[in-house]
């Protein structure tokens, strides 16, 4: 008796949770496939004939007026890829060796350094962005990929350093020591021996860093201009006043959420292990 009650309770709670988590996504997904009449219909329609028009409007445009806008949106997507990809790449190049050095060398204050990295995650972004805004204008880095990639380090480097550091702690030192006795310098130890072992950790860090960089709004909102605007800012531009173009907005939102959704579905384990490593350990 108790068992059945318990099972029913679980099932109810579980379903409620799933509905809560999934319904906004499902609703907007549905909206992105509705034509204009269905979108503004009240009571809201759950059954309708789907159309790909919104996605077409967002990505390709539906005539000479919107074609330019669609080209702009495609550019926003490309910009996000360049900035986030570049930021992660730079963070890996800078962060992995740093994490290695921090965990292997008992430099006084290496823990302090690591904590400094972590503290960046807790700081309000504008504390750095506002000064950078003025600085970038002076050195002509405003609205540039390099500028944005550098600015995004504030987000990506702490993630990389912390997660990789944790994974490094689990690597037994004996392999490294053996290699060192064989005459390998630290760089080669890192590149040839350690890195392959912590590949999952690096992957986790890279994926997490990429997604948080992609999802970021403030950096692009302030430091990007017409040429480098990322897709999150692009969506903000489009919502404007009173959303008249619900369908367009829904499709654009879905597209912007694609990296996150792909990662959630296929690369899940990296996310979870990365978060656990970076925070819990």
């Amino acid at each position: 008796m108790r068992n059945i009650l318990g099972k029913v309770a679980f099932f109810t709670a579980f379903t409620a949770l799933m509905i809560f988590i999934l319904s906004p996504i499902v609703w907007i997904l549905l909206m992105s496939f509705k034509d204009y009449a269905d979108v503004i219909a009240y009571p809201p329609k759950f059954l309708f004939t789907p159309t790909l028009d919104n996605y077409r409007d967002v990505l390709v445009g539906a005539g000479s007026d919107t074609a330019g806008e669609a080209a702009q949106f495609r550019q926003y997507l490309l910009n996000s890829v360049i900035v986030s990809g570049g930021a992660v790449l730079l963070s890996l190049i800078v962060g992995v060796p740093a994490a290695f050095a921090l965990s292997r060398q008992r430099i006084r204050g290496s823990d302090h350094l690591a904590f400094t990295f972590l503290s960046f995650r807790f700081a309000p972004e504008l504390a750095i962005i506002i000064p950078l805004y003025a600085f970038f204008q002076q050195v002509k880095l405003y609205d540039s990929y390099i500028g944005l990639i550098l600015a995004h380090q504030l987000i990506t480097i702490p993630l990389v350093v912390w997660i990789v550091r944790t994974f490094l702690a689990d690597v037994p030192l004996e392999i490294e020591e053996a290699a060192q006795l064989d005459g390998c310098g630290s760089w080669r130890v890192l590149w040839l021996i350690v890195a392959p072992v912590i590949k999952p950790g690096i992957a986790s860090a890279a994926i997490l860093a990429f997604i948080f960089s992609w999802n970021n709004l403030l950096m692009g909102l302030v430091l990007s201009g017409v040429s480098t605007r990322p897709v999150t800012v692009g969506i903000m531009e489009a919502i404007g006043f009173d959303q008249i173009r619900w369908g367009w907005m829904a499709a654009a939102a879905m597209i912007a959420a694609v990296p996150g959704m792909i990662i959630a579905v296929y690369l899940q384990r990296y996310i979870v292990s990365g978060l656990k490593a970076g925070i819990v350990k």
């Binding site: 709670a13 579980f14 809560f20 988590i21 999934l22 906004p24 609703w27 907007i28 503004i40 009240y42 809201p44 800078v94 060796p97 050095a101 921090l102 965990s103 292997r104 060398q105 823990d111 400094t116 990295f117 503290s119 960046f120 700081a123 309000p124 972004e125 504008l126 750095i128 506002i130 000064p131 950078l132 600085f135 350093v161 030192l173 020591e177 310098g185 630290s186 760089w187 890192l190 999802n215 970021n216 709004l217 403030l218 999150t232 969506i235 903000m236 919502i239 907005m249 829904a250 939102a253 912007a256 959630a264 579905v265 996310i271 979870v272 978060l275 656990k276 925070i279 819990v280 350990k281």
Partner: protein, 304 residues
């Protein structure tokens, strides 16, 4: 936590020196980055002590004037209150919720595994998208949320359009987007509990709740405090969920400090005042993190 390990080679051998040099080079770019970030941060703080605005040709040092002006400005004070209230609501809502969901999804089973996989989804969607999704659904007259509520007999709400309910509505969106983060941490904590606790439905004949409250929960405290640490900091500096959704909300009801800082800098072109607001926010976050970290250490020691 991580303890740096000692490398077993003689202190000043060439290979050791070479190694040390390599490590320095490995750290150098990261160190430069840290120095750079701190430089800009401190420069920003310095600016907050000037009267810099877009139309002031030669900004001058004004000491604490900006800060004094802030604390006599009603908009700032309302925003400060809203920020604190936001954090409080987030903690009160999300910690029990995360605990419950973690308990629900703990243990292995097919459904639970699916659940654990799916709850990550809101976390990975750009917050602005999450905000827009909910803004659309929360539309009072045409939105699907009120429609569903009314079809099951519950009253609809004004959600984001009424100053009285707007902050709570944003907290709801925040809960949707970020509770899975807290849940994952607590799940990790649950997994670290001794096997005996996890498997036994009861201990010594006491009910499950008793066991949980007196034994499991204290063991979980470090993780709960960790969750609180992250949620408090993130809530204090919330921007992405507010700016595209309410722009500071009907009548300043959601004008959190980070949002005010943005407006001050980019709508009113007063970078000095903006940095003053941001510095105040930073101090609040610093204090809160400091206290929570201390609490965390205490709970960790209590566990051991």
């Amino acid at each position: 936590m991580l303890i740096a390990r000692q490398v077993d080679s003689p202190r000043h051998s060439t290979s050791h020196r070479r190694q040390k040099r390599s490590f320095v080079f490995m750290l150098l770019p990261a160190l430069l980055l840290i120095v750079g970030i701190m430089f800009f941060f401190l420069q920003g703080i310095a600016r907050s002590f000037t009267n810099e605005k877009s139309y002031i040709r030669n900004p001058t040092f004004v000491g604490f004037d900006n800060y004094v002006a802030l604390f006599s400005d009603s908009t700032f004070l309302v925003g400060l209150g809203a920020t604190m209230l936001y954090v409080l609501l987030v903690l009160m809502l999300q910690i029990p919720l995360a605990l419950s969901i973690a308990l629900l999804l703990d243990k292995t089973s097919f459904m639970r595994r699916i659940g654990r996989n799916l709850i990550v989804l809101p976390l990975l969607i750009p917050p602005i998208v999450a905000g827009l999704m909910w803004k659309t659904m929360m539309q009072p007259s045409a939105g699907v949320l009120n429609f569903i509520l009314s079809s099951i007999g519950l009253p609809g709400g004004s959600w984001l359009t009424d100053p009285a309910t707007s902050l709570l509505s944003v907290v709801l969106i925040d809960t949707w987007a970020f509770t899975s983060f807290s849940t994952l941490i607590i799940l990790a904590g649950l997994q670290s509990l001794p096997k005996s606790l996890r498997e036994a439905a009861t201990v010594d004949g006491a009910g499950w709740w008793q066991t949980f409250r007196h034994i499991s929960l204290p063991l979980l405290m470090p993780y709960v405090v960790l969750v609180a640490l992250f949620r408090v900091a993130d809530s204090l500096k919330q921007f992405d969920l507010i700016w595209p959704v309410t722009r500071g909300g009907p009548l300043n009801s959601t004008r959190l400090l980070h949002v005010q800082g943005y407006e001050e800098a980019f709508r009113f072109s007063s970078p000095a005042m903006a940095m003053a607001i941001i510095f105040v926010l930073w101090i609040i976050i610093y204090l809160a993190s400091f206290l929570l970290l201390r609490l965390w250490r205490r709970t960790v020691n209590a566990v051991d």
